[in-house]
Every structure is written in C-alpha cells, then in structure tokens.
Amino acid sequence: MSDGKKALGDGEEAPQTLAAPEVDVDDEQLLSRSKTKLWPILVGLGVVVAGVGGYVAYQATRPDPMKVLVAIDADGFWWQGSTPSALVSDKLAERLKKLGFEAIDGGDPAVVEKLANVTTAEEARQKLRAGFVITGDLTPKVEKLPVDDGLIEARVDGEIRLAFVGEAPKDIGNVRTWSGARKEDKALELLGESLGDQVFDRAIRGLLGHEQIQRLVHGDDAIARGNLTSAKAYVDMRDKQLEHAKEQLEQLATERKKGEAGGHDQKYHTVFEGEDLLAGVSPEGMLIKRSATRYFFNPEQNMLGYFRDLHSLLWKGFDGKEREIAQGYNFYSYPGAAPSGSPVALIEDLFGDAKTITIIDKQGAPRRLRVDGNHRYQAPKLSPNGTRLAVFDLACMRCPAGLLVLDVKSGEELYAVKGDAGDMGSFAFIDDDHLAYVYREKAPPVPETAPADDEEEGEGDEPAAPPVRLLQVVLAGGGKNRTPELLYEAPRGEVFDAVSAGQGGKWLALGRGAEDGKQLAVFDVQSRAMTAYDVQGGTYMVAASPAGRAVAFERYGEIFHYSIDNGALTRLTDNQARDRYPIFSQDGARVFYESLAEDPSFPKQRVLTAIVSVQSP
C-alpha cells in the first residue's frame, strides 16, 4: 500500500456500479496471492493429469505377463529368416495358446513390421510388449557329409532361457537334437521340427514355475486363473509322469542288485537309462557305444515319450569319468579299439545313405577310411598296435558277409574275401601281421543229372559240405593277392563261431559245436594244435583273456568263466535278466559285460542296457 488507498481484500465486495471502481491494486500482492491460491490447484491438477496419463500410458504399454515371445536364435531369429527358429516359434505359439498363453504369432505381418530392424530378443520383447521371452542360442552346426549326392547333417545343443520384463534370462533346460537331409534347407527344417517339442517342454515348465505366473495361478484374478488351468494341469501331469518314470528306473537298479544270486560282487559302471553297449576294454577304461534316450512328456498325446539322442562313443574310465570321442546319427554294429585304447574304429551310418569306416586317433580326430553307399561294414577289429583293421564286409544290406582288411594309416586294402564265396565266420588278430578267421567255402554246385531210381533212398549220397577251416592270412608286405594259410581243418560235424585271441595271440579261443558236446576249443598258435574242452554246456560269444589261459562266455543269458589250465568253470552271474558279451580287462582281472533290462515305463518296447563287471575267479 504505497499511497494508503484501500485495496480489494478478502471479505470485501466489489462496488455494484457499471463504472470501474477506482481501486488501487497492488499487482505484485495480487499476483502473489493468486499464486498462493492457484498453485495447489495447478499442482493437484497436474498430479491428476500426470496420474491419469501415466496410468493410460502404463496400460497402453505395460507388458502382458501372459504374452510370450519365442525368440530362439538359430543362426538368426525367425524374423531374420531362420527356419529352425521359425519352426520352434510356430510350434510353441500353437501349444502355448492351447494352454491359455497369448503367444505371439510369428508370421503376422504386423509383428514382422515391428521387428523389421530388431536385432535382439529383448528389443523384440519390448516392441511387442510381451511379458516373457523365451530365448536360446541354438545355432546349428552344419556339416556336409561325404556322400556322392550330398548330405547335410545339422546338430544343435544349447540352453533355453526364460526372461520376464526387467529380469536377466534364466536357464530352463538344455535341448539337443540333430537332423540330416540332402539339402541344407531341409536339414534345418527337420532340425526345427525336432527342436520344437524339446523347447516347448522346457518353456512350459519354466513359465509355470515363474513367480509371475505362479502369482496369477494362485491370485485373485479368476480370469487369469481360468486361462492358466490347462497349463497347470498339463505341467502337473508332465511332472508326475516324469517323476514316476524316474522312480521306476531307480527301483529297477535296486531290484537288479538284489536279484543277483551268483554271489559275485558286481559293479555297475553305468546305470539303466539308455542303451550302453560294451565295445572294448583297455587301460583307458570301457569303450561304450551309447544310445542315450531321455524321457519327455509328449504334448501332442499327453503321455510319456522319449527322445533318442545321437549315438555317442565314449571311454568310461575305471574312475567313472567319461570322455566322449565321437557323436553321430547312428553307429553301426559295435566299434572296436586297439588293446591300448587307441586308435578306435567305428562304422558310421550317414543317415542311411552310406556307411563309413572311421578311425579316431588318440587325439580324438576322426578320419574316414571308407565311405560307401552300398556296402555294409560290421564289427571292426584293430590289430594289437592299431595299424590294421579288419571288418565284416557285406556288399549290400542282405548280402552274405565277407572280410575286408585295411591298412589303418593309408586305407590300403590288404586283404579281402568276398561274401558270396563262402560262409565267413568270426575273425581275430593273432598279431599285427596275422589275422585268423573261420571260413567255410561255398559248396560246389550239384550237377544236374537224371534222377536215379533209388533217389529217395540216396540221402546219404548228398555231396559233403566243404569243411570249416581256421585260416590265417599274413598281412605283412605289399599287395593284396595274399593266399591264406590253413591253420586247422575241422572234421565233418565240427563247427566254430566266435574267435578270440588270448595272451597276445598265443592261442585262440573258439566257440565250438560238435557231436562230442565239447563246446569250447582252444587253438595253440605255436603248435597249431586244436583242443576241445567240455565246459558242461553251450558257449556263446567266447572271449579270451589277454592275460591268462581263461575264457569267458555267455550261456543262456548268464556269464561264465572257464580256466583252461585247471578246467574250473565258474558261473559269474545268476539273475533273471540277460547278461551278454563278456570281455576281459587287459590284466584279465575282471570280466565286463552288458546287462539288459526292460524299461518299466515302456515294457516290451524298449530295452535298457548297463555295463557291469565282475571279478575273475
């Protein structure tokens, strides 16, 4: 009030005249008072506007916890053109939708447009306002296999991760699979289709286990609870069946140990899970061809199923440590190893298109000696120092077996016996330069003559079958025109099956069949004398001890030990299951074998195999 004139104040009325009152207004004071009055209102309004705006913005942009983006990086994401990624995304989207989730449709043009320049899964999640993103680096390893018309193998092995908004991705399980096809596109397509089931299995478990979804499952939102009913029921059923299958396997192992009545202390080197086949025993440990299988809950049929993994070849040390040396679609028959453990030979089946003879050296590097689209190779055996290899050689799938001997280093063919020339029995290296094999030549064709009057009585006049012979071929020196040397010619009625070299090739053990009932034969290489032994029953898959004059064999699903010198026969196993294919340890102290069991979850469908050993008597 600079000049003492009255100002318009609180509680005073303005003059009721048309003319403007002559009032001296202190602008500064008025302004200050106006501010005093207005600012709380403005602030309040601002807060309300900001609140409403924020709420609207939040509702419009908040990620939806039920919205799931599948962004598997398989040499790029699906929106970047990756076929496996797209196939996984499609399969998961379809299944997650069935279970109440709002999975993002991969092919939707509107979605693709939003992801046009997106390079990460998290960025994609943000753009699409998805609550969850399922990721994983599943970039396939693609290999061109050496087949005439071309063959592509694709493999993948990786972790699947799940992330909610603002969270770091968490591992929810591993997936691995493989595929093979003539063209890479097709191989990747098959790979993607195979991956879908596994990724879904990890994803649904991960989602249902996540606290955000658990909150909805147990929360007050009836709609969200209702949407998730199917998912919860699915996961409950899945967990229950997988748990049950696991319990059954554990129970099986326990029962098998309890059921052993032989009195010998058996050691289980592997468990009953898949199919572990014993290919050899060396100082490295047990050479195992493993066909692993994993249980999974089949979402299409809502029942337990199993995945077959790639075949793997591994050394399992006596300390229990495993060292994988090869992995592939299918390893044909049993691999073989030199007594020292290296090299290893195996037959690869290249997706049915070809078979290989592959050598794996000490460093684990594979080398294919042969790739053939027609021939089938079986049961490779290596000479003691691993420089030579012998295999059964079938010219076609149903052709009779022949014999093929190769130089491991050069792949040169050292010796071959054609399958159609006679019956090839078993074979064994006596040493690096000598290979023994059981063989019977083909009977000469019977000349077509006019039937004799007494034909019906002439059974005894049938031409005699050629005798079974134990032959030896010398592999030293060049060329492949080698003439086998006769070691032993069996008299009529005597036959042999398995041949195994004992004590570094000093003698050969042979399964024998003859009217005298003696079913084991031992051939002394030095004296070239064949001696038959009565082992009080049959022999199957006779194995000679590398360290002493003893053999092990299978009889009616049980493993037996026979001491050649004292004639002691010991039954090593006594149980209800089949035990088979015995092999001595290099020191002869233990006998290793395969023990078979029926999968309790898939009776009469699937056989499980474990590797067991027992102390030699």
Binding site: G81, S89, D90, D105, P109, G192
Partner: protein
C-alpha cells in the same frame, strides 16, 4: 371458384403453401441428404451373412469406379449442405436434381470403367434405380401442386408425366426380358401355384411389380380429377409407396431369418431409397412451383451464379468421370530377345514357387503362427531376386516391389494386377520373352474377404501386331512355363485390362494333332465322340480331311483363327451390347452367362472371317459344340452362331433341332471359303447391328 378456393387463393395462402413446400424440401434435404451422405457406411451386399462394405473393395476399383461408388454420398452431403445454405428453394431444388442426375451419370460411366478393369463395380453402385423412382417422385410432386389453382395445370402435367414415366419401367427390356411380359407371366402363374406360401410370396412380388403401374394410374386419375384439398396423406403415400411397400419384404426377412445379417442391409437400403425419392419429389415440386412464380417473384428462380455454378460442377464432375472412364490402351510393341534357361527358371519355376509360398503363408497366418511359412516366402524371394540378376538387372525393381507389397495380406486384387503388369511391362521394355498372367480369386471366409493370388508364367514366342479399324492391337503367342495351369484348357485367352490377347501354343499344338488324328480315321471325324453314319457329321469329317490334305497341318490355321478370336475379344471389350438373339435365347440365364455367351459368340463368328485361317475349320469346331445340344455356354454360342449364319431357327420346343442343324451345316459347308467369310461377316453385323471390325496385319 368457390368461396373456399377463393380463400385459398389469397396471397397469404400462396405464401403459406410456398412456405410449406420450401420447408418440406429443406426438411427432406436435411434428413435425406444426411442419409444419402452416410450411405457409404451401409453394407452394399451380404455374403454368407457377412456384410460387405464399400471401403473393403476400394483397392479393387479403378478411380472412376471409386468416384461412382462414392457419388451418392457426395451428392447427399451436397444436398444436406444446400439445405442449410441455399437461400432460395429453387436453388436447392436445382442442386438436388443436378446432384442426383450426376450420380446416375457418374455411376454408369464408373461401372463401364470397372468393367474394363479387374473387378466390376458392385451392382448396387452400378445400377442406380433412377428410372424406377421417377414415377413416384413425379406423382408425389404433382399431387402436392395440383390442388392449388395457380399450380394445378403444372401439377396435372406432372401427374400425367408420372404415368408416362412408368412406361420405361415396364417396356424397357431388362436382361433381355420385357418387364411387362414377365409380370404378366407371373400373374398368370399365381393361380396355378399349389402352395399357399408360394401364392403369398409370388403375390407380394407381383404386387411390387404392379405398384409402379398403380401409382401411374393414380397419377392419371388425379390428372383428370385433381384434388381440391391439400392431399396431406396422398402425396407422401404416392412418393414413398415403393420404400413403404418394400417394408413388407423387410418384415418377411425378419420373420424368416430372425433378424439375420442381411436385415440391416435391407433396412438401410429402404431408408436410402426413401431419402432419394423424397428429396427428388420435393425438388421437382419446388422447382416447378418456382418456375411458375418466376414472373411474380424476382427471387423465384435460382440466381444465375448459383445455376451456373451448379451446372459447371456437374460438367466438371461428368468431364472428370469421362476422362477417368476411358478404356485401357490396346496394342503393344514387344521386340523379343531369345529366351534363356535362366529366364525360364526365373519365370517358370522360381516366381510361381515364391507365389505358392506366399499363398501358403497367407492361408496359414490367418489361423495360426506362420513364422516358418513367412521365412519360406522370404527365402523364395531371395532366390528369385538373385536369379533375376542373372536374367536382367532391371527385373529386380518390379520383383522387389511385388514381394514388398505382397507382404500385405489384404493386398487388393487390382493392386496385384498392377504389380504383375509392372513386371510384364519391364520384361517388355527389356525385350524379355516372358509374360506372367495374374489372376485373383476372391472368397468370403470366416476370416473376411480372402483373395487367392495366382501367377502363371509363359514364354512368348511371337508377337502379332494388327490394326482393328485402324487402331493398334496385339496378340502374343505364348507357351506355358513350369507346372501346367489347372482348369485352363484354352487355346487362347484375353483380358480386358491387358493390352494384348494371348494364344496358348502348348494348347493349340496338341489340339491340332488330335484333330489331324480324327480326320485320319475311317471315316474321318471332325470332333471327338462324333458318331459315324450321319451325313452331316460325315461331311464334316470329310471336309476336315480334305482341308488337312490341302494344307498339310491344322496348326497354322488354328493359330490364325485363335488370334482372330482373341483379338475380337480385345476389340469388343466388356461393353459389347448383348445381341438380341442371345437375349432371347438366354433370358432365363444370369446376366453374367448372357455376357459370356454374347462375347464368345462375337469372337467365334469373327474368327470365321480370318483370312489366314480357314472358315471351314471354324465351322466344324462350332458344329461339334452345337451337336452336343447341351446347356453349356459353348453349346449356346454355337447354336446361335449357326442360326445367324444359316438364318434359320435351330430350336424346337426349347430343344435343339438336329435336322435343322444338319441342314444348316450341309448348306454352309458347301460354300467356298470366301463365301463363308462373307456369310460370317454378315451374320456378325446382323447380330450386333454394326459393321464387323476390319483386322489388318501391321
């Protein structure tokens, strides 16, 4: 003049009734204009219970057709605006009549433009019921004017005119049928119907058919004896009789379909009809009254500026539509380079592969996640673009655009044609001997209107350039690439929107061979399944055998005649007037079937005139179709063609007169080639009422 009339004749009374008239016009223009303006929101059709809206088809239509489709709405808004701002009622009346007349004009031209294009304008937009509404509008306006002495004469004339306006409704042939005749036949048939339901249904239809006549007759009665009092009820009843009566049908639909999806469409249709007839009637009434008052009131008629502006706007819109409605240019120069394996693979394999991938993705993504199918489309696209580089770098742009635009699931069919045309045009400019034929199938599905886009590739072997009455036209001889086109056993084909016709060599060659084999039989036959022992059929076989002996091969003849056939299609276009003979023969068939037969008839008769071909071969071809005597389109074509060529009827009791056909064939087969060509030229001219185009090689 009675006391009452004298009272009515006072200037106050005149003023009062003028005010009432003007108020009625403005009121109707307000609600009617709004209804017409918003009519674009109404479904124009209901397919499988799903309403179809104008905006869904916009992409399919050329600009002229879009203008036609929206013309009623534009006119409606103009009328609504006029009701607010036009000071003089006569100005508003002029605006109404000019606007709605423009709608009729623009719609007709737009429909013509669409006929040349990929997809026709929906019938609701193409065929505005202008003529049908006129009797009602005139009767309503006449009744309102006739009771006033100062406008009685004009009112009586309008009433009489309403009766005259009914004549085209009944006497103007529609789809080849005289409506009056159809109505009489319907009336005659009703007593013979054995079901009460049918009697009721057909009775309602007959009543609807008679309604316009009834209104016309009322108009005559009122013209003779005009009302002496204001026809407060009669005038609106006459005006809105048609939409009012249609309400019966709407009610019937409600009862039958329990308010199904089509009801809304029907109700909206009736309201639009009422709006149109209401504003026209009020505009005529006000316009005529204003004309009568032009001497007594200086502001009775519209100002010169308004009238000039309105007329100018009509001319502008009409001119624009005329320009937009021009048919596509025909004839094309295509200097062919040699084909290459890379080009064959690009057009014959990779492009169709990409399109099939796209089709699978299109179908899949509407139902489920289809990322894999999308990836496949992208992969196929990359392969295609890569290959295009090895054929011609210039192809990358049109192919890239095609792939880019085809990402749109709801890509308009017309756009598809344009994109493929762009590719063909690039091929043409680069001299690449390839043509890609686009087609689009549209279907209403649970996912809405779904379009199936197809591509069929051809290698061009030869380009025939001709003039048809001096105008350039072209025909391409093509050979199919890639997978054989299914359901397309055509010797040639032509699309109105394409600037050339196509002659399918890979169809003609086997046909020529097959025909030669038939003529080598004993006795020779001129078509498959032709029985032997019939004099006409035997003569047909012998004729072809002689022709083959003389010419050595049917192939060049068939090529020439197919070219002439397809070029005639190009020249005829979609607006070829339907020949009376076709109308009469096919009056019970759909308009579409009539158009097809009509166009084929023109082409088949025209191909007989080909100087490079042999009319006897064409005649034998037609004879085979006619002999089948079925109801197929080609059977109709060939029978009408024989009737035109022989100038005799070949139908007896709606069945083919085989004796007549035999005689016709034997008679025609005796003619020499030039005589037969001349006969065909005459027949075409009789059928279509004008001279057959002259085709000359360039």
């Amino acid at each position: 003049m009675s006391t009452e009339e004298a009272a009515l004749d006072t200037s106050e009374a005149k003023e009062l009734y003028r005010g009432l008239r003007e108020a009625r016009l403005r009121r109707r223009c307000q609600w009617g204009g709004l209804v017409l303006g918003l009519s674009f929101l109404a479904p124009y059709e209901v397919i499988l219970g799903v309403p179809q809206f104008l905006w869904q088809t916009l992409g399919e239509l050329p600009p002229a057709a879009i203008l036609a489709a929206f013309s009623l709405s534009v006119a409606g808004f103009a009328i609504f605006a006029g009701s607010r701002w036009a000071e003089r009622s006569s100005s508003l009346a002029l605006l109404v009549l000019a606007s709605l007349a423009s709608v009729l004009l623009v719609s007709a031209w737009g429909a013509e433009a669409a006929a040349w294009d990929a997809v026709p304008l929906p019938a609701g937009f193409a065929e505005r019921p202008g003529v049908l509404l006129l009797p009602y509008a005139l009767a309503g306006a006449g009744a309102d004017l006739a009771f006033r002495s100062e406008s009685r004469l004009a009112g009586r004339r309008l009433l009489a005119l309403s009766a005259v306006a009914t004549l085209p409704v009944y006497l103007w042939p529609d789809h080849g049928v005289l409506p009056a005749r159809a109505l009489v036949e319907l009336l005659v048939s009703i007593p013979e119907l054995d079901s009460y339901r049918f009697v009721l249904g057909y009775g309602l239809i007959a009543a609807l058919g008679l309604l316009t006549l009834f209104v016309g007759l009322v108009g005559v009665l009122l013209a003779v004896r005009p009302p002496r009092e204001e026809p407060k009820l009669l005038a609106p009843v006459l005006t809105f009789a048609l939409p009012g009566f249609l309400c019966f049908f709407v009610a019937r639909s409600v009862l039958l379909t329990l308010a199904g999806g089509s009801i809304v469409s029907e109700v909206v249709g009736v309201v639009i009809l009422a709006a149109a007839v209401g504003v026209v009637s009020a505009a005529i009434e006000c316009g005529v009254a204003a004309f009568l008052e032009r001497k007594s009131r200086s502001d009775a008629l519209p100002s010169r500026a308004f009238a000039g502006g309105t007329v100018g706007a009509v001319i502008l819109v009409g001119g624009a539509q005329l320009a937009l409605s021009r048919p596509p240019e025909k004839g094309v120069e295509w200097t062919l380079k040699a084909s290459s394996p890379a080009g064959d693979e690009l057009f014959g394999t990779l492009l169709p592969d990409w399109n099939r991938s796209r089709g699978r993705w299109d179908q899949g993504v509407r139902e489920k996640s289809s990322a894999a199918q999308l990836v496949e489309v992208q992969r196929a696209g990359r392969v295609l673009l890569r290959q295009s580089q090895s054929v011609d770098g210039e192809l990358e742009a049109p192919l890239g655009l095609l792939m880019q635009e085809a990402k749109d699931l709801d890509l308009a069919g017309r756009r598809w044609y344009r994109l493929v045309h762009h590719l063909n045009e690039t091929s043409r400019q680069r001299g690449l001997p390839y043509y890609v034929d686009p087609t689009v199938l549209m279907a209403q599905t649970e996912h809405g209107i779904v379009r199936l886009f197809n591509l069929d590739a051809y290698r061009i072997e030869h380009v025939t350039r001709v003039t048809v009455d001096g105008e350039p036209f072209s025909a391409l001889r093509v050979r199919s690439l890639g997978k054989k086109r299914t359901s397309h056993n055509l010797l040639g084909f032509s699309r109105d929107l394409q600037p050339f016709a196509l002659v399918a060599m890979d169809e003609i060659e086997p046909f020529a061979k097959e025909l030669a084999e038939l003529t080598e039989e004993s006795p020779p036959r001129c078509f498959e399944d032709a029985p032997t022992g019939d004099p006409a059929l035997d003569e047909c076989g012998m004729t072809l055998a002689r022709l083959l002996a003389k010419k050595g091969s049917f192939l060049p003849l068939l090529i020439a005649m197919t070219e002439r056939h397809e070029l005639q299609h190009q020249a005829d276009g979609p607006l070829l007037p339907i020949a009376t003979a076709v109308r009469e023969r096919m009056h019970s068939y759909s308009e579409e079937a009539q158009v097809t037969v009509n166009r084929e008839l023109s082409a088949y008769v025209a191909e007989l005139t080909s100087t490079d071909g042999e009319p006897a071969l064409g005649l034998a071809h037609l004879f085979g179709f006619a002999w089948s005597g079925g109801r197929s389109e080609l059977a109709h074509v060939s029978t009408v063609a024989f009737e035109a060529l022989s100038e005799r009827s070949l139908m007896k009791d709606d069945e083919l007169d085989r004796d007549g056909l035999r005689k016709a064939y034997l008679e025609l087969s005796k003619l020499g080639a030039d005589e037969l060509r001349a006969r065909a030229t005459d027949a075409w001219q009789r059928l279509y009422g004008r001279t057959l185009e002259r085709v000359e090689r360039m």
